[in-house]
Symmetry: C2
Subunit: 773 residues, 2 copies
């Protein structure tokens, strides 16, 4: 079986870079001064042991972040960044993540390191025995595990090119075994390039057993390794499985998973599963946390690892397989303990490997970043460019602890910079980003079925829910959304059920509309296209209209749509009620774009000041939009006798727009607690008559202090089946209403159940909806 | 209170023609030779006593058709026509409706007239007592009742102009009372113009008591009137109510509703309700069936009645109210018994009334048909233009019975001419027309909420269902339709659940799509825009493609959409499975437009022949589309070495299109019974995984005889959330599947329940769905 030739075959080529990835990243929680925190794992994270994304590792302070399995590196890093955002913002604003593999200063007394307070007693017991066997200090080291699976199409294509091995599963296992043995043989190269644990902080070592700095304490014999009597051979899967079993039987390992190696073969829950199912993927475990990357590992590193694994599959291995692996462990220990600024003793070998990798990539048409090989060669030529080298050099000025603290602080600030966004997914709609944040926090699997289309699959155990645009779900019936989409139908149904809607008529014919002039002429009324689009084609006559103006308005509306509505105009303030499952979760009042004078600054300056709010931006990427100073705003100012350089009086409010849309710079003001129950009841009842479960319904109310009993105090303008949520979550003024979390809990009611089971009642006050009887 | 002045007020004018209408029309069922039928009321009609549209009147053969209340005459006549269609097609093809008020030849023995076999014994008993009191023959007379209500805005506007009457309800009652008294006074005009029962048929009169022909037997004392000792005064509501109660008390009337008058005051279930609620509307009962109108009354007649009622409200009445009414009854009997071809003795009065009406209409800006007054004057000048005159003159050649039979036959043929349409609603989508037909037949209230948008409200007692486009309902969740709308998401979900879908990738970037050439080049594949529109931008490569062709195809697809799909091409036949509530209700195979040679005719002639099928037409107004002979068809012929004037061999099939869409002349072939259960199960299971309840899912199957166990025997192409239904109901070949009735029964399962309660099990075989275990 000539694997080199096989890899070069045209039938294999299209699939060479197909793979599946996953990252696990550990890290210690510290306070803002870089001290190990004394707090528990954050309560806002669903704290079940089996949280898919954010767990506790050995200690209560050690967070483990886990990505889902992805099919591209882009996706992988998107999820990794997003999970970091969730972790940071769930910890609250007094904590951050330590950016090094080596822990920060540890307590003097080992017992003060708190073992993770998990729910399952077995999990706690396992940690207790690790603590007995290795000491708690060593367990505080953190690292990155990189899970890698060759694409099935790739292995299938390779399999089809040979006839030596008849069994597909066996073939696959051999592929991974060869790659693994070569990885173990050459692991020193990873340690050289990406080793990043040169020095320990206070109280890590009980005595000065090690001559620091080195390249990687973590990857050396002083790091996270088994006792030397634990020996596992990689020459065959049978040997590997039986060796590990033997170690457990002899008591050298408490559990199979205690076997620490630079690579772990994976294929099931237990090592013994490998015998039945073969190797399904491998877990690279010798990656130190990259201090210079917010996520602890760079995209280029991952790209290197992928290419390196293809190279290792391609590259011939030594004849004596077990010796080959053993030599690798030996070389690695040497490199790990080298000074971070000295050239490695294997520099020549490293240069050869990198040259070969580059040739292979070219030959096989593998696309990689332009800078990958340049950077690799630089690191090889100049050890101060390696991660350990950089960290050590930075630490020469300050201490390593100070460097780490200031890096952590930077990461912390980035995570809090735009709290309405979810890093990795900022191209998606804000509501979807918020929903994904909450889903991750609650431990719900999030799969993006169509990114452009904002289409998510959420899964909690066997319970699957699909969500589009943040709140289009299985809970609403199709026809109820169609009802809301059609204003005439919505109005008819609400009217039939006794709600007040603006009187009016729909016209499909201009002559017929004109003949109805008498019906409206003397009252306040509005003319609008049936399907309105950003307010185009709308004319409002607050005191009736003469025939000429009526004709103009009708003609204008018909330019936008083949059907138009002429309706009674209702006086009052417009409120958006967000109704979810027969409860009012938020009420918002929207105020047209405006500024408040201070008697000193011009209107233009005041607009610029107001636009500096980080919540304001362009194109719906922020919860509020910047106020514009365009033609319409200037006209509006002119109408009030102002220009852009006028200076309004102190506390004077100047409006720049007639319409109150948030998209044209309007202010969103939460008034949920101020709106009386009787109006909330109208909103809930109306939504219920439309058969809707998730709905943003707009009411005009003249005076909320006047009881709603009199039907003439309000009017229902329209109902929206995909109401914007972010304007409630991040209002300009008033309390935030975390609607996306309400959606999550509505879709997955079992979450609240399970949290109360564990004694963690959800008590966040902004998660209260108004149930109206 | 000067009602004349009030009616001319500008605040009243806009509402003058606002009104609500309803029609009830009785008619005898006859066989195709015009003989009274001996069959029961059709079983296909839901036979509950309270059917809102199609009931039995006195006898089992007497059908009563009832429109819903409408706000325009257009709507009124649409429903009236539609209900006629349903009645005709429900009777089956051996029966028709007698087009005259006077019944056809009656049985010699009165007892052979069968009293309606109603479910409620009280209803049967009431008919028995009528039969005792008037004899069954007289009860066989049929007529039209025209229900009329002035628009509430009109009465409100009038009310606001006066201060004499403080109570709105009382004011309204006075409006109706005046109109009613004047109507009764001038009823002879209706009898003159629209009386249409000049002669009786055999066995109606026991002896020759009447000198036929007359204008209206029905409206004369020989017709449908109470015994002369029944006297009810109209001077006040109190008097009216107490008189009727008295008549019942005295036993002169069996029930209140036995009081026959040209106008009945309406306001509730019982006459006594009038006292509490006042008069809500009036029922004009003196309208003979118009033999010359398929629906028994013309639009112009209804227009006249509306205008006449406004005129009667406007017109001063006599000072002695009861005398005024009494005189009217007397005049009417005179006119009713005039010879249909002689001038009426009230010609001068009639002329005055018509002149006044015309002036009033002009003065009040009331728009009426241009021909209304011309026709009225013609009828006045020439009695042979009145309905009675026309019917009598036509009957001079043949007998009246023969004339009626041939008119009935014409109406019958019109009703069966396009069985896929519902008269009155032919502008709507075929599926919606079919659904409305079935709803009416099942006695479900149908309200059109938005006609252009095909939006219906269906109601059975308190149970309301909204339906758009025939099958968008409350049963499907919103997100499941969004899943189906997105091909990539649909495929992902089906693939995750182990169904075979074409392998492929979605691309949003042309370069990325081109780089993937190798993935597809050597296999059959298809390139298409993500959102396909009538097949634009699709390229199929059945044997792979070279790079140049691949590039062309990709470019073409990106012209249609910003996202494209490149997918494996599956060989086989495409089947459309219509799945409803986890059952397969229909399977269709679609064959591209084609003709079958006969060795004699040219292709062009054969196409014209095939297009003569009444099921074929243009623009989706028929279940099948005409085959075109355009550019594409000519190209396709050329490719096969044919021209339009080629003569294909006997039995040779020549295809004119590559694609099998029905919209481009394809044939629909029902294969429901031929498709094996295992493929039906795949369709049902796949739809279930998409969370859908109503779905048209397309499977490619290579050979239906090969069991589906092997996943490679089929592939799922797409799922449609608004699948066309009419192509299953009216297939080109194979059995019809009444999917709209399935939808009705799915939405209203109580229908099946109630039918079985009455012993009428639904046994129509085409209403069977395949439940697959």
């Amino acid at each position: 079986m000539d694997i080199k030739k096989m890899l070069e075959n045209d039938r294999v080529k299209p699939y060479l870079l197909k793979a599946r990835y996953g990252i696990e990243k550990e890290g210690q929680r510290v306070d803002l001064s870089g001290k190990l925190t004394k707090t528990d794992h954050p309560k806002s994270i669903s704290t079940r042991d089996e949280h898919p994304f954010i767990k506790r590792d050995f200690s209560e302070t050690q967070m483990e972040l886990i990505t889902p399995v992805t099919e591209t590196l882009d996706e992988l890093f998107n999820y990794l960044a997003a999970i970091h955002d969730v972790a940071y913002r769930s910890m609250g604003d007094n904590e951050m993540l330590w950016p090094l593999s080596m822990p920060p200063e540890l307590p003097e007394k080992e017992e003060d390191i708190v073992i993770a307070k998990l729910n399952n007693p077995e999990n706690v017991q396992y940690r207790q025995s690790l603590s007995n066997s290795y000491g708690r200090r060593k367990q505080m080291i953190s690292g990155i595990h990189f899970n890698f699976e060759f694409g099935d199409e790739l292995i299938q294509a390779l399999f089809n090119l040979q006839s030596e091995i008849k069994d597909y599963q066996q073939f696959k296992t051999e592929i991974y075994l060869k790659t693994t043995r070569n990885y173990l043989h050459y692991q020193w190269l990873i340690t050289y390039l990406y080793g990043a644990s040169p020095s320990s902080e206070k109280n890590f070592f009980e005595e000065d057993s090690l001559n620091e700095p080195v390249r990687s304490i973590r990857n050396s014999k002083y790091g996270y390794t088994n006792h030397s009597d634990v020996q596992v051979l990689h020459s065959s899967l049978e040997k590997y499985v039986s060796d590990i079993s033997l170690m457990v039987k002899r008591g050298l390992l408490v559990e199979e998973k205690e076997f620490y190696s630079a690579v772990r073969l994976r294929g099931g829950q237990h090592v013994s599963d490998l015998k039945c199912h073969g190797v399904r993927y491998i877990e690279l475990r010798n990656i130190d946390i990259n201090p210079f990357e917010k996520n602890g590992i760079s995209y280029e590193q991952a790209e290197f690892l992928h290419l390196f694994l293809i190279y290792l599959l391609w590259k011939d291995e030594g004849n004596h397989r077990d010796e080959w692996v053993k030599a690798g462990n030996f070389y690695n220990d040497l490199v790990a303990l080298e000074h971070p600024l000295e050239h490695t003793q294997f520099e020549g070998d490293a240069k050869n490997i990198i040259d070969e990798m580059e040739h292979l990539a070219e030959f096989l048409d593998l696309t990689v970043s332009d800078t990958l090989f340049i950077n690799l060669r630089q690191m090889l030529m100049d050890p101060s460019k390696t991660l350990a080298g950089r960290l050590y050099k930075d630490s020469e000025k300050d201490s390593q602890g100070q460097v780490a603290t200031s890096i952590a602080k930077e990461n912390y600030e980035k995570s809090w910079d735009k709290p309405y966004q979810l890093t990795g997914f900022t191209d998606m709609e804000l509501s979807t980003q918020n929903l994904m944040f909450d889903a991750i926090q609650q431990g719900i699997q999030v799969e993006i079925l169509d990114r452009q289309d904002q289409f998510l699959k959420l899964q909690l155990k066997d319970h699957v829910e699909f969500v589009k645009n943040g709140n289009m779900t299985s809970k609403d019936s199709y026809v109820s959304t169609l009802i809301m989409e059609n204003k005439t139908v919505t109005k008819k149904i609400l009217h039939q059920h006794g709600f007040r809607v603006p009187n009016g008529e729909e016209y499909n014919d201009i002559d017929y509309a004109l003949r109805s002039y008498d019906l409206f002429s003397s009252k306040p009324f509005v003319v609008k296209p049936k399907t309105t689009n950003y307010g185009l084609g709308i004319s409002i006559f607050k005191e009736g209209a003469n025939y000429e103006d009526y004709l103009k308005a009708i003609t204008l509306a018909f330019k936008e749509d083949s059907s138009i509505l002429v309706e009674e105009f209702l006086n009052g303030t417009e409120y958006r009620f967000f109704v979810l499952n027969d409860k009012v979760c938020a009420v918002l009042s929207r105020v047209p774009a405006n500024i408040k004078g201070d008697g000193k600054h011009t209107i233009e300056e005041l607009v610029m000041q107001k636009n500096r709010d980080p919540l304001r931006g362009r194109d719906h990427r922020t919860p509020l939009e910047s106020i514009q100073l365009g033609e319409l705003e200037n006209l509006m100012l002119k109408g009030q006798g102002y220009r852009m350089d006028s200076i309004p009086k102190n506390d004077e409010i100047v409006y720049l727009r007639e319409n109150s849309n948030i998209s044209t710079g309007g202010d969103s003001i939460d008034v949920t607690d101020q709106i009386p129950d009787d109006y909330k009841k109208i909103a809930v009842d109306a939504v219920s008559e439309l058969g809707a479960k998730i709905c943003g319904i707009d009411l005009i109310i003249e005076n909320t202090e006047v009881p709603a009993a009199n039907k003439n105090t309000y009017g229902i303008i329209e109902a929206n089946f995909n109401p914007s949520m972010y304007m409630h979550i991040y209002p300009y003024k008033g309390e935030s209403r975390r609607l996306t979390m309400h959606i999550i809990h509505y879709l997955f009611p079992e979450l609240l159940q399970s949290q109360s089971n564990y004694g963690y009642h959800y008590k966040n006050t902004d998660l209260q909806c108004y149930a109206v009887e």
